[in-house]
């Protein structure tokens, strides 16, 4: 597989140790991206959670149990598995910054991309989205609404990137060299513990440029070579060890070790 490389690489770094699992990021994500409220939320096969906070534990019995929370947006992979399988080119990775797009009007709902995504970051709209009783007045102007029957996913709040570029143009700056903090997704803005950092990993002036080199930084399932643009940081060994499921000594483990920063 050929990896798409750009001069800008929008990258998210999540400090797992600081996430308290409060869920504010999940709520803000829905508000920003016009995900309709659902009356039944415990059938997780039908819910639409572009940002989903997983609960991890160290597998030990009381009193040695430890818990961590891991927020999971779309990984915006460098080698996205979803893109080549789409029969109608409804998802692409061809824009400066490396965000994997999802073009809803073009999607035919075949769900090949969902089957291909190893991170379960893609969601199919099984139900009609409904904002009852005037709740549509709180719709965000940033994101189009989707009917049922198409696949949707996190796009790092792409319209905010467009807004930031517009601002840069207006101020006579290079829209592809945005200052740190100009472009931030909704989940980051709402996170009360500052667990989410975001920026251009290729820009030395952006904080994430250094964070991804932290010895405790890792990516999920590095062994399968998707090259995600979402990194995690944890001081806890057991959290980092759960990031991949390769057999010890296997080819995949060696590949993962080579790919690690």
């Amino acid at each position: 597989m050929q990896q798409m490389e750009f001069d800008t690489k929008w990258t998210m770094v999540v400090d797992v140790d600081k996430c308290t699992g409060c869920g504010a990021c999940m709520v803000s994500c829905q508000a920003e991206n016009n995900i309709a409220p659902m009356k039944e939320g415990s059938n997780k096969l039908k819910t639409l959670t572009w940002m989903l906070v997983y609960e991890l534990n160290n597998g030990k019995e009381f009193p040695n149990r430890e818990v961590a929370y891991l927020p999971r947006p779309c990984m915006q992979c460098g080698h996205p598995a979803c893109v080549p399988v789409c029969p109608v080119v409804a998802t692409t990775k061809d824009e400066e910054g490396g965000i994997v797009s999802q073009i809803y009007p073009r999607c035919i709902g075949c769900r090949y991309c969902m089957a291909a995504c190893p991170y379960h970051a893609r969601y199919f709209g099984w139900l009609d989205p409904v904002w009852p009783g005037g709740m549509d007045k709180a719709l965000s102007p940033s994101t189009s609404t989707r009917p049922r029957g198409v696949v949707e996913k996190c796009n790092f709040c792409h319209s905010r990137l467009l807004d930031a570029r517009q601002r840069a143009r207006a101020e006579g700056m290079d829209p592809n060299k945005l200052p740190d903090g100009w472009y931030q997704p909704a989940c980051l803005e709402s996170c009360p513990t500052g667990a989410i950092s975001f920026g251009d990993a290729k820009n030395p002036e952006h904080k994430v440029h250094e964070l991804i080199k932290n010895p405790n930084a890792f990516r999920i399932l590095e062994s399968i070579g998707m090259e995600p643009q979402v990194y995690y940081i944890s001081r806890r060994d057991w959290v980092r060890e759960q990031s991949d499921n390769v057999a010890p000594g296997s080819h995949a483990e060696n590949h993962a070790a080579e790919g690690k920063h």
Binding site: G23, G41, A186
Partner: protein
């Protein structure tokens, strides 16, 4: 003429060619693809000018300073206001849903009164105010005939209600919160003002019971302070330890979790004090000798281990670690932000006193109350110390007469009170129940008169010194949107009714009250509504004592041998006042709600003891009622403890929250704390069937 082979081939060929040219097939396929994804209603995005305005959201359990984004005047998104000291940036998951709560299906559209048939009919504000004035005129000056309860502990609106109640010769209460125990604790220790904790300047924070990341104090501020002490990718500046029965959000974020049995926070703190005293810790407080005698005689390591489950060696190690720190602080509270009484706070204060951490940077602070805007109102701590649960327990038992009129503001007592079945009935015994609720909640659904308050986005609002913060402060906001429905700010309603009844509260409108509050506090009103908070750096002078005589009576060793209930409160599930917001439904864990079944959590050892397994349906029975639940095995729960989330089991509201799970408040057992006499409900035990 017969059909020969040639004719047949011609017919088939003609049919195939014809069908390729006819649009019917293609049109049918096209229509089928459209119909199969047919959307009966397509919402249209609202376009217009995007504006941002600072606001103080009161949707969450503590005020949250945020920036509200609106399009064409309609709020649609919020983010934290990092410039405001009250919550320092970030939003909680209820406030994050603020715009959607403004357009909630549960909003009350206008004033309503209950008819003889038990249905509600819309009435005008004039009629509603007339009905209320008449009912209140009949009870004015008659002791015990009117009761007022507020769920807003920080707003000046509560001062207005308190002042009005005083003018009526009635009592004003607050809904249960951490503040009640802290107010009684400080008064028992001989102090005045309000207890706070300077977490941002501490290098070692021990939370005992207090779930600072989800329910204790100003949660968003706690989270932001925690975040500042551990910048991503850098060294940790402050060590956090959580002591409690369940691995909640605070335990998950802390550097260490120390399992401590539910309701034994005071014993744990006094167990630490034992080791500190043994190491030579001392104090100049007048009753130090009594305190030392009490601790050394009744809280030896073996007794403390038996009660809390924490080994003596571990307690000694924690005590040593605290004493080694340069700016430690110990914070005690309930695991679910209510019902702990005063003993936990007194015991934690005693540890802070032994460490010499009272009114020190990074320590426990005794904060002044901001000057009152309404002279007739009770002071903040005086109001907080009143025992609403005790009052209702008296009504339930027939010892106290039910009031002729009860007014409920920003509160949902029928849903949120402990030992819910009995105490909700006590509320319903009121002769005339008035709800000022914004939403059709459980209390509004039983009320005789509903006078809806607009949401905090549609009215002036303020917030003073949320419980737990380390400095006295004030924040305020102006409306960010036009009122959506025919609602009226409760402060304006009360001022109007007071005027009719000849009670002079000194103001004619809500914004006048808020501006006067700011002026008296020394804050600049314009700066407040632009998003800045006024912060005072003063603390109360004067020393406090250990309240050894109160501790001696209030702290008793649990009997043990039973299954203890450890309720917990998570903002994603809502608050005692606001039910599950629509956008939060999908964010609730399947280990807490599965379909309509509430999941409670036990570890595998307890499960084995109880003979239950993952998914088992059981019935929990407490002193106050029963709940049908399912079991989830979670090794983050102590032995012989069942952890259960509050916030479910609503019977009113809307489809996003109603009929989901059980209201665990039913199982809470209300008792009385010896020494202070206030109601407590952190030690509840359950049986399983």
């Amino acid at each position: 003429m017969g059909i020969d082979r040639r004719t047949f081939i011609q017919l088939v060929t003609g049919g195939v060619v014809g069908s390729l040219f006819t649009p019917v097939i293609w049109k049918s396929l096209d229509d089928a693809s459209i119909w199969s994804q047919n959307w009966p209603w397509i919402p249209r995005l609202k376009y217009g000018t995007i504006t941002e305005q600072a606001s103080v959201a009161k949707f969450g359990a503590a005020p949250c300073a945020e920036i509200v984004k609106s399009v064409g005047g309609s709020p649609y998104l919020t983010r934290g206001n990092a410039e405001n000291e009250m919550s320092k940036g970030g939003v909680d998951p209820v406030s994050a849903s603020g715009p959607q709560l403004m357009y909630s299906l549960s909003r009350v559209n206008g004033p309503m009164k209950k008819t003889a048939e038990g249905k509600y009919e819309s009435i005008s504000w004039e009629e509603a105010e007339k009905v209320l004035s008449e009912k209140l005129a009949a009870v004015k000056g008659k002791k015990g005939k009117l009761a007022v309860v507020s769920g807003d502990t920080t707003g000046t609106a509560t001062e207005v209600l308190s002042g009005f109640a005083a003018g009526m010769g009635a009592e004003c209460y607050l809904m249960p919160s951490e503040e009640q125990g802290a107010a009684v604790a400080l008064s028992s220790m001989g102090g005045k003002g309000q207890i706070g904790y300077d977490l941002e300047n501490s290098d070692f924070v021990l939370f005992v019971g207090a779930d600072a990341m989800d329910s204790w104090g100003s949660v968003v501020r706690n989270q932001c302070v925690y975040s500042e002490s551990r910048p991503t990718g850098e060294e940790i500046k402050t060590t956090y330890i959580y002591a409690g029965p369940f691995q909640n959000s605070t335990a998950a974020a802390a550097d260490r979790w120390v399992p401590v049995a539910p309701g034994t926070g005071a014993i744990f703190c006094l167990g630490l004090a034992y080791h500190m005293l043994k190491a030579g810790a001392s104090s100049s407080a007048s009753d130090f000798a009594d305190f030392k005698t009490l601790v050394m005689s009744r809280f030896s390591p073996d007794k403390v281990e038996k009660a809390t489950g924490v080994a003596g060696t571990e307690m000694a190690a924690i005590a040593k670690r605290i004493m080694k720190s340069s700016a430690p602080v110990v914070v005690a509270g309930s695991e679910f932000a209510q019902g702990a009484g005063a003993a936990d706070v007194i015991a934690a204060s005693a540890v802070n006193m032994l460490l010499g951490r009272i009114n020190k940077e990074g320590g426990m602070k005794i904060l002044p109350e901001l000057p009152k805007a309404v002279e007739a109102a009770a002071g903040r701590s005086e109001l907080a110390a009143k025992d609403f649960v005790g009052y209702l327990a008296g009504i339930a038992s027939g010892k106290v007469a039910a009031p002729a009129v009860m007014m409920s503001y920003e509160a949902n007592p029928i849903y949120a009170l402990p030992q819910n079945t009995a105490l909700a009935q006590a509320v319903e015994k009121s002769g005339f129940l008035v709800s000022f609720s914004t939403y059709m909640d459980e209390t509004a659904s039983e009320a005789d008169l509903i006078m809806p308050n607009p949401t905090c986005y549609e009215r002036f609002e303020d917030a003073q010194t949320p419980y737990g913060v380390g400095a006295a402060m004030l924040a305020a906001s102006a409306p960010v949107a036009e009122p959506l429905y025919n609602s009226k700010p409760t402060v304006d309603v009360v001022l109007g009714v007071a005027s009719v009844l000849g009670i002079d509260l000194g103001y004619e409108s809500a914004d006048e009250v808020y501006q006067a509050k700011a002026e008296k506090a020394g804050a600049d009103w314009d700066s407040l509504i632009e998003g800045a908070a006024y912060v005072s750096d003063s603390t109360e002078s004067g020393s406090i004592k250990f309240a050894a005589s109160v501790l001696s009576k209030a702290v008793t060793m649990p009997k043990g041998g039973e299954i203890a209930l450890a309720p917990y409160s998570k903002l994603i599930i809502g608050t005692p006042t606001v039910a599950i917001p629509p956008l939060n439904v999908v964010a609730i864990s399947k280990f807490e709600l599965m379909g309509k079944d509430l999941m409670v959590q036990v570890n595998s050892k307890t499960a084995k003891k109880l003979g239950v397994s993952e998914g088992s349906k059981v019935k929990l029975a407490g002193a106050g009622g029963e709940c049908a639940v399912r079991i989830h095995i979670n090794e983050g729960v102590m032995n012989d403890v069942i952890a259960a989330p509050l916030g479910f089991g609503h019977t009113a509201w809307d489809a996003y929250s109603s009929g989901k799970g059980e209201n665990i408040s039913k199982l809470l057992t209300v008792g009385t704390e010896s020494g202070t006499g206030i109601s407590v409900w952190t030690s509840s035990f359950v049986s399983i069937a």
